[in-house]
């Protein structure tokens, strides 16, 4: 292999024309930047600007679907929510508050266990329910129900709620988020689908239980 000679040639003849007849790179660069012929240069600049404009246009056209794709999850609350059954009404004894589980109605096959959503069902009387989201109204941690003291307690920052979901103490500024509910053929249904946060459930007015369009859907 004639590596040494090759290197010599490359190093020695840096400024002379190469054997192929192509001028060295720095020679080309000198030509490109020389401003001898104004017309040629200005035409090149015009073409370059046209090139930039073309790329800008194509970029803009592509940005539309890209932005639409990125913002796809940004949807109306109602498009994520639907009525879903929590099971037979008789599984919720009157006077008790029980944990209920449901599969989130909006789901993907690779969600794994994350679409198991929990909520608390409080059956005050035979036909009067309250369904609370598991998420603390402060920062969304899972509150725990203590039937002995009839309190919900949050393990994160110590928010406490009474049995009816109203705020008892701690950092939350409001009571527990509630789901709208109805009884259909002896099954308790709730209108669910989203993680409740202050932005989709922040209204402080309490809707009539089981009636109307609830602003507190989780």
């Amino acid at each position: 292999m004639d590596l040494t000679n090759d290197e010599h040639r490359l190093t020695q003849n840096q400024d002379a024309p190469t054997p192929t007849g192509i001028p060295p790179l720095n020679e080309l660069a000198r030509h490109a930047t020389s401003g001898e012929d104004d017309r040629v240069v200005s035409r090149r600049w015009l073409l370059m600007k046209a090139g930039i404009a073309l790329n800008g246009l194509v970029g803009l056209a592509l940005a539309v679907p890209v932005v639409r794709y990125i913002f796809a999850p940004w949807r109306k609350d109602s498009s994520y929510e639907s009525w879903i059954s929590l099971g037979a009404v008789k599984s919720f004894p009157a006077g008790e508050t029980r944990l209920a589980l449901f599969k989130n109605p909006f789901t993907r096959s690779w969600d794994g266990p994350t679409d198991n959503v929990a909520c608390y069902v409080r059956r005050e009387e035979a036909d009067k329910f309250q369904v609370f989201a598991i998420n603390c109204a402060h920062l969304g941690c899972p509150v725990r129900w203590f039937p002995q003291s009839q309190l919900f307690m949050c393990p994160c920052h110590g928010g406490v709620y009474y049995a009816d979901g109203s705020r008892a103490s701690g950092p939350p500024t409001r009571g527990l988020f509630t789901y709208d509910w109805k009884v259909v053929s002896n099954e308790l249904h709730i209108d669910a689908g989203q993680m409740p946060t202050l932005s989709n459930s922040a209204k402080l007015e309490k809707p009539e239980i089981g009636e109307g369009d609830c602003t507190c859907r989780g």
């Binding site: 040494t4 609350d77 794994g112 598991i134 969304g140 500024t173 993680m195 946060t197 932005s199």
Partner: protein, 505 residues
């Protein structure tokens, strides 16, 4: 061009002829730096850079096994921990590397701040550094999400709850953050994209530009009191210093960088070996509600701050404070581009760093202890110490049962065990009379729920009887001042204990 002899040199020459890197590399390596910058104080930046590469390499290794799917991520982490040979060690390296990187970046930032290195002409270097800090923290948070366990899940819940507080567009931002209506498969996928593609790409780009500027503008000279930075004269003064009292960057200063970087990587390796990987904790199933979520070490201070803010201030603080903080950091080099660099002449700078360090340390400590969190199992797990019940009447014993059964213990410690959300009650009887105790239990208030509806009159009486026994043996329980006056006027003989000591507050 080196002399061409020997195969190694010929190969080198072949590449060099085509890459032509020797010139720029030599220029970068041999550029003179002021002699006193060859200091152990100047090694943190290069160590952060080295850690970035450790993270990239270990991250790529983890990606060989890790599955960024909500259904399988947790399983794949457990496979890494328990089945893949040394998978646990690569996880541990990545986890400890992350902690070290955040720590070193913070130390580097404090050092360049105290050394006035952000001043002219290094303003942009500092600004890129601020973004590098934010991206490092972003990597730490998104990395915590990729360790897809219960803490990751509920940490995302906290993130979503904070997003949800943004006025008007909060709901949409939550959808955007989660990739849908709930924390699920889409959420993990987008955090994977952020952690593996978006942030590292930017981080590398910014870090290289940051280093480029350090090479072009020169390492900040050792600050001397009285050597004032002026835009008009600084560059000339610096070059004079670097050339007259300078040494080549390599090896003069670089050997310390090398030694420290090596030591830091060794420390990461040892920590990883001894303490192992972080988690994963319980599986990310939101129907498992017996969980006490906690953020990773470097976010504990936020967790603490969020518990101490008054509710009315919370939303404005969460949404505005970070913006103000970042704006201050970005504005700093423009506000103070000239002037003294030495910490001897910058008492405010020293105070700010000390204050931030103490505040951060205190909040982190509080975030570790979480005195504001109820101990969710204290009522059933922590027994009442026997000394409180020795020789107690049946009513008092019944009261102790009520105290446990109604979860009072979750917030109130007795005998050193129990929650710390409310005051410890070991000597509550010296501070409150039975009437006051009864009133407090029934009506609550001052961060305590009212128990009036949930306790029968008999239970309240028993509970108050028990609480009234909680006082040191040498200190009598508090009594109503009216009764006190009556007692001290009519009682024959002297009281052993002065009246004031037992008076209620």
């Amino acid at each position: 061009m080196p002399r061409v002899n020997g195969t190694g040199q010929r190969i080198y020459a072949w590449f060099e002829r085509r890459l032509q890197l020797e010139g720029p590399v030599k220029e970068a390596a041999l550029h003179p730096v002021p002699r006193n910058t060859a200091s152990w104080w100047y090694v943190f930046g290069s160590a952060a850079f080295t850690l970035l590469f450790l993270q990239i390499i270990t991250g790529i290794l983890l990606a060989l096994i890790y599955v960024p799917s909500a259904a399988h991520a947790w399983d794949s982490l457990n496979v890494l921990n328990h089945q893949v040979p040394l998978g646990w060690y690569i996880r541990a390296l990545h986890g400890w590397g992350s902690n070290f990187m955040v720590a070193i970046v913070l130390i580097h930032m404090a050092q360049v701040f105290l050394f006035g290195a952000y001043k002219f002409p290094r303003e942009l270097t500092w600004i890129l550094g601020v973004f590098l800090l934010l991206m490092t923290l972003g990597m730490a948070f998104t990395g915590q999400v990729l360790r897809f366990d219960q803490d990751a899940y509920w940490g995302l819940g906290i993130g979503a709850s904070i997003m949800g507080r943004v006025p008007f567009i909060g709901g949409g931002l939550v959808h955007l953050l989660l990739g849908g209506p709930i924390i699920a498969g889409a959420t993990l996928s987008r955090f994977f994209t952020l952690h593996v593609f978006v942030i590292p790409g930017l981080l590398l780009l910014f870090a290289l530009t940051h280093v480029w500027m350090v090479l072009k503008l020169g390492v900040n000279e050792w600050p001397m009191p009285g050597r004032v930075v002026r835009r008009a004269t600084y560059v000339e003064e610096y070059n004079k210093l670097a050339h007259e009292d300078g040494i080549p960057f390599v090896p003069g200063a670089f050997w310390k960088d090398l030694v420290f970087s090596g030591a830091v990587i060794a420390a990461v390796a040892v920590c990883a070996l001894i303490m192992g990987p972080f988690g994963p904790g319980g599986q990310p199933d939101p129907s498992i509600i017996q969980t006490v979520p906690k953020p990773d070490f470097f976010f504990l201070w936020i967790y603490a701050v969020l518990s101490y803010l008054p509710p009315a201030l919370e939303t404005p603080f969460i949404l505005i404070a970070p913006i103000i903080g970042i704006a201050i950091l970005l504005a700093l080099p423009f506000y103070a581009a000239e002037g003294e660099k030495s910490w001897h002449r910058r008492p405010v700078a020293v105070l700010v760093v000390s204050f931030v360090a103490v505040a951060w340390g205190s909040f982190t400590q509080l975030g570790t202890v979480t005195p504001w969190s109820p101990h969710m199992s204290a009522w059933s797990a922590d027994a009442i110490p026997a000394k409180f019940l020795r020789g107690a009447s049946p009513l008092v014993r019944q009261g102790a049962n009520v105290f446990q059964d109604k979860q009072c213990r979750n917030c109130h410690a007795v005998g050193g065990l129990g929650g710390q959300r409310g005051p410890a009650l070991d000597d509550i009887a010296t501070r409150m009379t039975p009437d006051e105790l009864r009133f407090k239990v029934v009506t609550g208030g001052g961060n305590m729920p009212a128990f009036g509806k949930n306790l029968s009159p008999a239970e309240i009486e028993a509970l108050v009887a028990f609480l009234d026994t909680l006082h040191p043996p040498n200190q009598r329980p508090a009594v109503n001042p009216v009764n006190e006056v009556y007692t001290s006027t009519h009682a024959s003989g002297g009281e052993d204990i002065p009246a004031a000591q037992g008076a209620p507050r």
